[in-house]
């Protein structure tokens, strides 16, 4: 028999509530968040918007044809062949 699924209802804790439950001081929490938030990826946004965006990025990369990849990795001189100076600017 599978254990019954537990239903979790709010209020949901803020990070300050969690710190209080765990017995962590405000000063320590602020210092920790300062250290870690500075390196936080810009993608961490509410509502999973970032997840959708990262998904579309993946598909864009996949849609790159091998011809495009070859062109992108070619030397600058070969890439410039047949293009106007304006296009290269």
């Amino acid at each position: 028999m599978k254990a019954r699924r537990a239903i979790i209802r709010g209020p949901f804790p803020t990070v300050e509530d969690t710190a209080r439950i765990l017995g962590v001081s405000d000063t320590h929490l602020k210092e920790l968040l300062r250290l870690t938030r500075s390196g936080r990826s810009a993608g961490l946004k509410k509502n999973g918007v970032a997840l959708e965006k990262s998904g579309s990025k993946v598909s864009r990369t996949k849609s790159k044809t091998s011809a495009n990849k070859r062109r992108a990795s070619a030397p600058r001189k070969r890439r410039a062949r047949g293009k106007s100076p304006k296009a290269l600017a």
């Binding site: 537990a6 949901f12 969690t18 439950i21 765990l22 968040l33 509502n47 999973g48």
Partner: protein, 204 residues
């Protein structure tokens, strides 16, 4: 009279503290936090004086408990012994739930392999364990089977994003605590705070 908001449910996390379990340890912290729950563990108990009493107190104050028995096996050190802490704490949690005054609401058993529990702990026959296959995705999937948060149900992708955030910051937390292992009181608390912060930002 104004209604006093209910405190956030705490989850007693009964897991093995070994290197091989490191990624799943972070996955459990991330997933539990994503559901708006606060993980607790015996790691927080730093003193050895009356340790058992403090473990009992900790289990008693948590509404739920998760017991991972996937690494109940013989260790390599001499003399070779199985690890009894996890099944022992599971027994304590089950017994506490049966007491009349308990506010505890449930306990969940996790395993990495199907049917292993039937062999190792037949007293639990009739209770299906949550099989996570020893993978972080499995942990997130099974947490979704254990808990339901109407209006705030986190997706596996959101739990994974929180996990990445926590894992990415692990070196900073370890350095700050002067530790080489995540299984210390201070590192555990910091990881819970990071997961809670990320969950607050990511999950509605």
């Amino acid at each position: 009279m104004a209604r006093v908001p209910k405190p956030s449910p705490e989850v007693f996390l009964n897991i093995p503290y070994d290197e091989k379990f490191g990624r799943l340890f972070l996955a459990f912290i991330s997933g539990i936090s994503a559901f708006g729950l606060v993980p607790r563990a015996t790691l927080e108990i730093t003193t050895s004086v009356r340790r058992l009493d403090r473990i009992l107190d900790l289990i008693r104050q948590c509404e739920y408990s998760i017991h991972d028995l996937s690494r109940v096996e013989m260790d390599r050190g001499f003399p070779r012994t199985p690890r009894f802490n996890m099944p022992f704490e599971l027994g304590l949690a089950v017994a506490l739930e049966k007491t009349a005054k308990s506010k505890r609401r449930g306990w969940f058993v996790c395993e990495s392999r199907r049917y292993r529990l039937t062999k190792s702990l037949s007293d639990l026959n009739g209770t299906d364990p949550f099989i996570h296959d020893g993978r972080i995705e499995g942990v997130f999937r099974e947490l979704g089977n254990m808990f339901r948060a109407p209006g705030r149900q986190p997706s596996v992708q959101q739990m994974r994003t929180i996990y990445r955030e926590v894992r990415g910051n692990l070196p900073v937390v370890l350095r700050k605590a002067g530790s080489t292992t995540p299984y210390t009181a201070r590192v555990f608390r910091d990881l819970c705070l990071l997961a809670s912060d990320a969950a607050e930002e990511l999950v509605l």
